[in-house]
Amino acid sequence: MPLVDAEGPLTGVPEGAGDPSRRALDERVRAWMAEPDPWASAPDDARFGALALELFAYQFEHCAPYRRLCERRDRTPGQVDRWQDIPAVPAGAFKELRIACFDPSATRHVFRTSGTSTAHRGALHLDTLALYEASLVPSFERFLLPELAGRPGRARIVVLAPSANTAPDSSLSHMFQVMVERRGDGASGFFMGGDALDVDGVLAALAEPCGEGVPTLVCGTAFAFVHLLDALGREGGAIRLPEGARVMETGGFKGRSRELARDALHHEIADGLGVPATRIVNQYGMTELGSQFYDTRLNQPESPCRKLGPPWTRVLLVDPDLGTPVADGEPGAIRIFDLANTGSVACLQTADLGRRAGDGFEVLGRAPGAEERGCSIAVDEMLGG
């Protein structure tokens, strides 16, 4: 049995965006998200650019820390006429400052980044979950359940993460909760409470026969998969996922399990769960963002794997020092523009390194064990933040 049963739909929560100009922006972005197939047309740069510039002007006016950053960089709405030139907020600022375009009293929900009690956690303040949920659904379906996208149907969704009820400040749990409620069948559910994995529950949920045409998806954090694999190894258990099953993993390890390079993790998942590596998808997401990016393995299996997001996002790879785009093929710091972030700031500068790959990008993570040349411990590693 799942550790926590899903209770009630999370969608349809009251709207909090009270400002008429903001509401109008929200409605336009949401209309894009609600199209039957938002990916149907070629990337619509004009539509994206127009919305991005309007949103920039709104956020410049309503978010004081962002306004100061723009003014320092001499990039104010009057000076910027391309979305590519909109200033980016460093993602770490969400740990330190309230990056929001509305009064604190209008806050409906706060998602926080993971971390220990001593680490300061980043916070995304939301006055509405509507846009957040509207953004996550089409991407999740397109990249993980492509056979269901735009059609009715259910999937067996086995989640190796706590439910939203157990972890209300986890954006990842919220995303899974929305999808389990929207697309999960009766045996779908959450099999983690805190850091404790319900291995028997996972095995039982996967053993329960699926209905005709119901795909199986096992999804969760990378460290939860390591816990599952280690538990199976200790107990001599094995899982053979059914034909057509797929896996989605996300996030790092943060000292919660042994650490593996992403390729090695996928290799172990493939061996341990009996699923081809070509059906294992990594999701790149951040608490501070309303949208997520996925490997294209399932929806474009014939093309080289890369990360793509929904059409209301853009990714630039920039020189870390200059902030200017790097040449194709060169590594650059990942900068994300996400129109789903209407209530905070749409343009985020991450500390992650990536590289352009066709119409998408790849994340160039540092392999675990590839230590710096020194012998000093990193404080963020020490604090588990």
Partner: protein, 418 residues
């Protein structure tokens, strides 16, 4: 190197043990090696200065000055004094207790700073055990230079060291490497944990996990005293690009609620000057992304809070924080100054890092009461600013003796015990 080659190397070491010079001669010869490494005109020293920058990524200036400063007091005389202090005046005979060296010791090196390699390779030999040495992937050079120099100083000692260039992901070769009665290893806590899991329970394991160090400045210092402290701190930061366990990861400024302008200016100016003389080494793109992100994030806070300041200089970033909370410290000369108005704040700031603390570099004018508090902080070394990168040979790394963890003793009772 394959598992078979590792086993063959260990066999050779077992043979070499029989030919090792006696303790007194051994320590004298090892002292001669240290004197040779320290001499800037010697071949091994010049080899390190010439080749370590390319191998490790540190700038030539940092390697040259880092070696000069660190090795200055690592003399043959200091080695003998330390060996006598730990092993007894007769180097292994203490009444009825005799040193019984392990047949071989495996040394797994980490990082790219040369000094730990030197002391970790010499340790087994001081206590009379041949050493099978796995060089650090980031520094394949220093272990080889030390081994070659040993052979020149003494062929018998040279035969008692074998370099095992084993890939960490070669499970069989790593297992063969760890088939030793004693294993010394340096690296991250995760690496140490993984190694420990693979060692038999009977193996003596001497891990040196990653550590960090902290500098403590006096918020009320002014004039020449402040300039000297700032210059010392700048040297400590610039040497080894703030990546060593003795590098100050951050500096606490004790005695005022915010970082005073005078301290802010003095540290920035000192870093400017020192970084010009000691250029920063290579910065990997992933690290550059983190550094830029931290700088931008600090600047954004600075725009909102006058107590936060950012100064980007020649190969460094200096951030004055408004509080003593720990934030990401990526090294590579991103130095945060954290205000600690009183002893309580200082103690709280150090508590978070206490389990990982190696050294504390202290301003010359710091009050005795603060020094006493720092002595209880968990650090294994307190030293003046400017000396953090020059630990004495006798420094009790991790609070332990240098050679004793590698030693095994036998107590003799009954006839012949005296």
């Amino acid at each position: 190197m394959t598992a078979g080659e590792v086993r063959a190397a260990r066999e050779r070491l077992v043979q070499a043990k029989a030919d090792l010079p006696d303790a007194a001669d051994r320590v004298e010869l090892l002292g001669a090696l240290l004197d040779r490494l320290r001499d800037p005109t010697s071949e091994p020293h010049q080899k390190l200065v010439a080749r370590l920058p390319a191998a490790s990524g540190f700038s030539p200036e940092v390697v040259r000055e880092g070696l000069r400063l660190a090795l200055a007091d690592w003399t043959g005389e200091a080695l003998l004094a330390l060996a006598r202090r730990e092993l007894g005046p007769d180097l292994g005979v203490r009444g009825a207790r005799r040193l019984a060296p392990f047949e071989t010791v495996t040394v797994v090196l980490g990082g790219a700073l040369p000094m730990p390699t030197v002391i970790e390779m010499l340790g087994p030999l001081v206590v009379g055990s041949p050493a099978l040495v796995k060089p650090a992937s980031r520094d394949p050079l220093t272990a080889r230079v030390v081994a070659d120099s040993l052979a020149e100083v003494s062929p018998e000692l040279g035969r008692a060291v074998e370099i095992a260039s084993v890939r960490s992901d070669d499970g069989q070769a790593m297992a063969a490497l760890c088939q030793a009665p004693c294993v010394v290893a340096s690296g991250s806590d995760a690496t140490m944990g993984a190694l420990r899991e693979h060692l038999p329970a009977t193996t003596r394991f001497v891990p040196h996990g990653h550590r960090l160090s902290v500098a403590v400045l006096d918020a009320r210092a002014r004039g020449d005293a402040l300039a000297r402290d700032a210059a010392g701190l700048a040297t400590d930061v610039c040497l080894w690009d703030q990546l060593g366990c003795l590098s100050p990861a951050f500096a606490l400024v004790v005695g005022e609620p915010t970082v005073p302008d005078a301290v802010w200016g003095a540290v920035g100016d000192a870093l400017d000057a020192r970084a010009a003389a000691l250029p920063r080494g290579r910065v990997a793109p992933a690290t550059a992304a983190v550094l830029a992100h931290e700088r931008q994030e600090a600047q954004m806070r600075a725009d909102a809070n006058a107590d936060v300041r950012v100064r980007e200089g020649n190969d460094f970033v200096l951030v004055a924080e408004a509080d003593a909370r720990l934030r990401p410290l990526p090294g590579h000369r991103l130095l945060r100054l954290l205000p600690a108005p009183g002893e309580g704040e200082l103690a709280r700031a150090l508590a978070d890092v206490a389990p990982h603390l190696a050294a504390v570099g202290i301003a010359a004018s710091m009050e005795p009461v603060v020094r006493a508090l720092l002595a209880r902080s968990g650090a294994s070394r307190l030293c003046p600013l400017g000396r953090m990168q020059a630990p004495p040979l006798s420094w009790s790394h991790d609070g332990q003796p240098v050679f004793l963890p590698l030693a095994r003793w036998v107590d003799l009772e009954g006839p012949g015990a005296d």
